[in-house]
Amino acid sequence: MNKDKCVTGIKELDIQMDGGIPVGSTVLIVGSSGSGKTTLCMQFLVNGAKMGEKGVFFTITEPLFKLMSNLEKFEFFDKSLIDNGMITVIDLRILFERMGLDVEKYTVEDASALLDVIKDIAKELEAKRLVIDSITALCYRLQSREMIRDFIFKLGTFLATIKCTTFLTSEVPPREFKFSQYGIEEFISDGIIFLGDVERGGDLIRTLQIIKMRGVNHSRAKYAMSITSRGIELAPLLKVEEISSLLSRKVR
């Protein structure tokens, strides 16, 4: 196994990235509601834990019990990984409350305190994989673009020093080819994986595309993605329809 690469364990995704994500990278997982961001992140953590890499999952969007009950439906999920501490799941809203940060907007000091706590947790748990679900919800509490930039940059830099690969989920409106809510997150991240969909005969086909991955000669092809009880699976997307719909749009 290449020690410089963090293997996601999703075979087709790793092939697209020439073996995996460079260790210590911060990757933005972009998608609208229901696009599979949380599943992709959890599969990344579980596969890592099965290879002996500890992971931390910070959730803001879903209560823990709901998250767990959704995950239990997947064959890849193994609850013992949580029981034995290989994966730690933390509800950030509870953390905010305990830190007295249950306010609408954070000051610079609040943001700095939160950053320190996340860093301490990652370091103490010796995490090699970390997920924040979602960075959009967290950034909502930061008051300016500068604070968002500073927060993600400092978090990413620290996690890179401890060789922890990070997934930050970014929520975007459906059918929009944008990578973040605040227009900053994508520039600070080392990688962007975009989860979207295409319409075919009235049905929606899920898609996955690697937009950027620093330090990797990665594929930029769009893949069809399927979420089954086995987790995320990918196959090359058939292109003919997309090309013909683009052409018809130009003609109009």
């Binding site: 075919r200 005969g201 399927s226 058939l238």
Partner: protein, 193 residues
């Protein structure tokens, strides 16, 4: 007469798949049932091989009616592309259901998953029933692209492919384009035997 036709078809299919990687079968709709019987005769005669049957022309249920108890064919698994889209909600251990026949990539994923579960040294064979029905649900160029992908994927994995085309009237230009991607073509006619 029908028995002779089925036996003749069975023999030709068995011979062709032992010699060629991909076989295209063009048949009139009236001979569909005969061909199904011949194909399942082949499946039964190769009990150690793993077979996957992509059902687009008829739902999985209809095969249980046509062939009786499918547990007599434990080496075949169906990928049913039309039941869910028609609102039929059933579960069966011998069948994987796809939400819609437009989800062609998902068909490839499920086929590969099923073959990956098969014993490594088993012979593997895929039946696609049929290219002509897939074109009812999808644009013909998309079906051609799908068939190219599927054939090449199967060839790279040493999996034999049998693809059916149910002919109605004059041969369609897209069908002609596709069927000739196969290594061997078998045309079923009334004068076949």
């Amino acid at each position: 007469m029908t028995t002779t036709l089925v036996e003749g078809l069975k023999e030709r299919i068995s011979t062709s798949i032992s010699m060629y990687e991909s076989l295209g079968i063009v048949l009139p709709g009236t001979n569909y049932i005969d061909l199904i019987q011949a194909l399942f005769g082949c499946i039964r005669e190769h009990p150690n091989d793993a077979w996957v049957y992509i059902a687009v022309t008829r739902p999985f249920e209809s095969f249980t009616k046509m062939l009786g108890d499918l547990s007599r064919y434990p080496n075949v698994t169906f990928v049913d592309c039309i039941s869910r889209a028609s609102g039929i909600v059933r579960r069966d251990e011998q069948c994987v259901y796809i939400e819609s026949p437009t989800m062609l990539e998902k068909v490839v994923m499920e086929v590969m998953n099923l073959f990956n579960k098969a014993p490594e040294n088993a012979g593997k064979c895929l039946i696609l029933d049929s290219l002509s029905t897939l074109m009812i649900y999808n644009d013909p160029p998309l079906v051609i692209e799908f068939f190219y992908h599927l054939l090449n994927k199967m060839r790279s994995e040493n999996i034999h492919t049998i693809s059916l085309v149910i002919e109605e009237g004059e041969g369609d230009k897209y069908i002609n384009k596709m069927i000739y991607l196969n290594d061997k073509i078998l045309k079923v006619r009334d004068t076949f035997i």
